[in-house]
Amino acid sequence: MSDLTVAVPEEKVASTKAVVMNQVAGPEVRAESPLYHADLDSLAKQGPRKGGVRLRENKLLGHLTLRCNPNNADQLAAVERVLGMALPLQPLTSVEKGDVSIRWMSPDEWLIIVPGLKAFDVETRFRDEMDGHYSLVNGSGGSTVLELSGDNVVDMLKKSTPIDLHPSEFPVGKVVSTVFAKSTAVIRRTGEKQFELVIRRSFSDYLWLWIQDASREFGLVVDA
């Protein structure tokens, strides 16, 4: 395991305020997503290509939980320097730019998702730029992202969560943390008929079974 930790040069330690471990050493290191065992790639090749609900696992992304003070202008400016966009301060909103997205989770908490191999770089830059009392935790291994879409995606979600999904209440870009089946999920609308679910690794198998069952009447298409 020792080759997974990255040695930081000494002068770098002085400028950064905390030592950051690179949790993903590189693309050559084998990694299994929470739904690895479901073999979604084979289902995408062999399964039905028509149906009301489509599912894709956006796997092995970098999930960073940021907690900081929304009233601290210096911190807000630092986030903008690192991520190239401002933190969404309005409750239940999200922003996205290129392959980086930020979700409002709580008045002082945000979930940032970046490409898996970019996470260490983003973490390191946060340590360089951010000042004051804040925390940035890499929880990449603990969750995965499901992309759900299709003509019946709302019908399927309605069976699973008490959230009002009508477009007037739940427009594109809105994000909620809520109950999903007997687990929880962070649900974000990414299109009229497209949603993103951030789910816990330990519940991913249960939710995969649940989604298959809830989608049965509409037909489920798995995308690679």
Binding site: P91, L92, S106, V176
Partner: protein, 99 residues
């Protein structure tokens, strides 16, 4: 089934997203070592059980995971108001009714 307004998320959510955490406004003694056993016991274990207006601590457990207060009528279950930690309730019981 309650429909509860979370003051942090600024919208109504279903009760299953929340947990009730008991009576609100229980201040921890500033100097626990100086408490008598009776004072410490009352702080830890003794709670009001009013018929009528009750101030309760709730947490948006599946949502933003923040705590806030609710003033609720235990007889009708009606939620009278929701307010943040540190704020004071505007709806209070008539004197003699709260114990």
């Amino acid at each position: 089934m309650f429909h509860i307004y979370c003051p942090h998320c600024a919208e109504y959510r279903e009760e299953e997203e929340f947990h009730a955490s008991g009576q609100a406004h229980i201040a921890r003694p500033l100097d626990p070592e100086a408490c008598s056993d009776k004072e410490w016991g009352e702080y830890l274990y003794f709670r009001k059980n009013p018929r009528g207006i009750h101030h309760e601590l709730w947490v948006h457990a599946a949502g933003c995971r923040k705590f806030f207060n609710i003033t609720r009528d235990t007889q009708t279950y009606e939620i009278k108001e929701v307010y943040k930690i540190g704020e004071q309730p505007s709806v209070v019981a008539q004197s003699g009714n709260s114990k």
